[in-house]
Amino acid sequence: MRIALFVTCLNDTFAPSAGRATVEVLERLGHEVVFPEEQTCCGQMHANTGYADLAAPLARRFARVFGGFDAVVSPSASCVAMVRGQYPGLVGETVPNVYELSELLVDVLGVEDVGATFAHRVTYHPTCHGLRGLGLGDAPLRLLRNVREIELVELPEAETCCGFGGTFAVKNADTSAAMLTDKLRCVLDTGADVCTAGDSSCLLHIGGGLRRQRAGVRTLHLAEILASTG
């Protein structure tokens, strides 16, 4: 299958390893990945901060760049939810067929074992836009359970928001910090040395909190664990 990668502006700039890992997993499974270099941002930040007028041209641009592909994959549930949920209202034209990585693997390609090995104690945080926005269900966990040598530990209160919420983290910094503190407590309670999720935005927030506390717990994008071969 020929799959276009929408890496997202955030991964491209701040978490390129999530994009690299997405390419590696799909190529290992025998798929051709293309990267349309004209891509920039889906406009989520603008739309969710109240600037629908500025988001609309970005949405139209996105539709032009990705319109010609049968399938687009993205290692970001949040940006996929933006395209699927908000584009119909913003652009009113054919919305590109975009899948979140675990959704593409499990629901479209029917793969649960991607042949990964990762010998660490890992806890998984289901991000809000993946869990409730896209209804990913247990697709990410099914992929993780098939990783060799992984020790997967359940995150308490997993379905509670980590407090990132885009510009929420800036506009309501104190409430965001309170939510982050509770999330970090849950992560640390698991005794995991890696916290993973399907959104780099939430991971920058959680990981930034863990590093500030010098907690010695890493954050890794789900794709990076799936790409790992030991």
């Binding site: 890496v7 502006c9 991964n11 491209d12 700039t13 701040f14 390129p16 390893s17 994009g19 690299r20 390419v23 990267f35 270099e37 920039t40 941002c41 603008h46 739309a47 969710n48 901060t49 109240g50 600037y51 629908a52 007028d53 500025l54 988001a55 041209p57 970005l58 641009r61 949920g85 908000q86 809000c128 836009h129 409730r132 379905e159 509670t160 928001c161 990132f164 919420g165 885009g166 510009t167 929420f168 983290a169 800036v170 506009k171 309501n172 910094a173 104190d174 409430t175 910090a177 309170a178 939510m179 982050l180 509770d182 920058l204 927030h205 990981g207 930034g208 909190g209 590093r211 500030r212």
Partner: protein, 452 residues
């Protein structure tokens, strides 16, 4: 005080944080358990939304049918454009009944219009009879939850309050003992006061039947003992048919208290000679509802049946508490109702009082897509009230960057340089208060892609 400032104050209240966490965690689990028992819960939610939409999309017709039915059953219907008109009506009707006090069923609509304060200014005393509303009133406090107004208080605090305000001594913190103390205080009023005031959970256009749902029975005392009953009802509470109550009364208690059925459901249709009040007045309150109905996205908020499942599920509400919203309706529903029922300019921060996590939408029994309405209201605030100039400039600058691959790639190189700085500039500084700032790696993804 705007939400972020108020939340900063509330977040530091350790006892309140603990009380809220305990209460919302308990009620979430109860709700989840009783909802899981209903095999057709999702179709039931669809039906709940459909019933409310049917009434809202032809509201005038349904309200006029309600008026005809109530009048035919011996009641009197009044129409109030706003809080002032509704409050004046209640005062006039109370005086006409020869009383200078009222007993009240717990009601959000009368909180919304500030009825108690308005009556006090007219020399009329309002007695709250709901246990939690009584606690809030005795403490000179404000409700912080739609269903559990004193959710921010724990039993020890309530015991202390009753000992100080009700002349009780040696009370335990046992709920039964606290309730008995409140009962001693309330019973005399139930028997003495001649005018009762209630809100309404539902009113049936077809039959003129008004419905109040409660847990304590104090509400039923107020709707049956007095000679005169005055109901203040938001116009969005009307539903088309009596049979629709079956849907709504299945959805409401499971969503709100996590019970299969609430202990007291009172239904009355006009007046019945020799049984209950001799006079029944129904005040139909607009107070911003017609204006809300004019917004094709925002109007879905009027489906709300005040169950408060969205509050109990909201991670922002659980931490910041109800008072931070500065409004009768707190939590996610308050963040979309307050800016619409009142003036948008008075509540410009509320649409941002959410991380858009979607937990509220998932539990809403009438499927109000709260995150979508929040985003819609954010756009309205930016468009109609204007954003801070620095924010608008930053957003426009970023939109220009994202509109061009060349500018985007140049900005990535800039981010890499800025990433070397220890702290973020400007408003982004709040990020680095509790988190290390993100570092832009040496190579972007596209650098790697090109180098393969």
């Amino acid at each position: 005080m705007s939400f972020p400032d108020a939340a900063r104050v509330e977040l530091d209240k350790a006892q309140q944080r603990r009380n809220l966490r305990k209460a919302t965690t308990t009620i979430r689990a109860k709700r989840a358990a009783v909802v899981a028992e209903v095999p057709d819960w999702e179709p039931l939610r669809d039906e709940g939304a459909r019933v409310k939409d049917e009434a809202l999309h032809d509201l005038a017709t349904h309200l006029e049918r309600l008026e005809v039915a109530v009048t035919a059953a011996g009641g009197t219907v009044h129409w109030a454009r706003d809080a002032a008109e509704a409050n004046a009506l209640v005062a006039r009707l109370t005086r006409a009944a020869g009383s200078d006090e009222i007993i009240k069923v717990k009601s959000m609509a009368t909180d919304e219009i500030g009825l108690n304060a308005a009556l006090a200014a007219e020399g009329i005393t309002a007695h709250e009879t709901d246990l939690a509303e009584l606690i809030v009133a005795l403490a000179g406090d404000r409700p912080s939850h739609i269903l559990v107004p004193a959710i921010h208080r724990n039993r020890a605090e309530i015991r202390d309050l009753f000992e100080a305000e009700l002349g009780e001594t040696g009370l335990s913190t046992d709920p039964a003992a606290l309730t008995a103390a409140a009962r001693r205080h309330l019973r005399e009023r139930f028997l003495r006061v001649k005018v009762g005031v209630s809100g309404a959970n539902f009113a049936v256009a077809e039959t003129g039947t008004v419905c109040v749902v409660e847990s304590e029975g104090n509400g039923r005392m107020c709707t049956t003992l007095p000679d005169t009953l005055i109901t203040v009802m938001g116009i969005e509470k009307v539903i088309p048919r009596h049979a629709d109550l079956a849907t709504m009364l299945t959805l409401l208690p499971r969503s709100s208290t996590g019970e299969r059925m609430n202990p007291y459901t009172s239904l009355w249709t006009g007046v019945t000679p020799g049984d209950g009040p001799r006079d029944f007045h129904l005040i139909l309150l607009d107070n911003g509802r017609t204006a809300t109905l004019a917004d094709p996205v925002g109007r879905d908020a009027l489906r709300c049946i005040r169950c408060s499942a969205c509050l109990n599920s909201c991670p922002v509400y659980e931490r910041a508490g109800g008072h931070a919203y500065g409004n009768t309706y707190p939590g996610p529903i308050g963040a979309i109702l307050a800016p619409q029922l009142a003036e948008l300019r008075d509540h410009t921060a509320l649409p941002w009082a959410s991380s858009l996590c979607g937990a509220c939408y998932e539990v809403c029994p009438v499927k109000i897509d709260i995150p979508t309405i929040l985003v819609h209201l954010r756009s309205r605030v930016v468009r109609e009230q204007g954003a801070p100039p620095s924010e608008r400039l930053a957003m426009e600058a970023m939109a220009r960057v994202f509109a061009s691959r060349r500018r985007y790639e140049a900005a990535q190189r800039g981010a890499r340089l800025a990433g070397l700085a220890a702290h973020l500039p400007g408003p982004l500084r709040t990020w680095s208060g509790v988190r290390e700032p993100p570092q832009a790696p040496r190579r972007t993804f596209r650098d790697w892609w090109r180098s393969r």
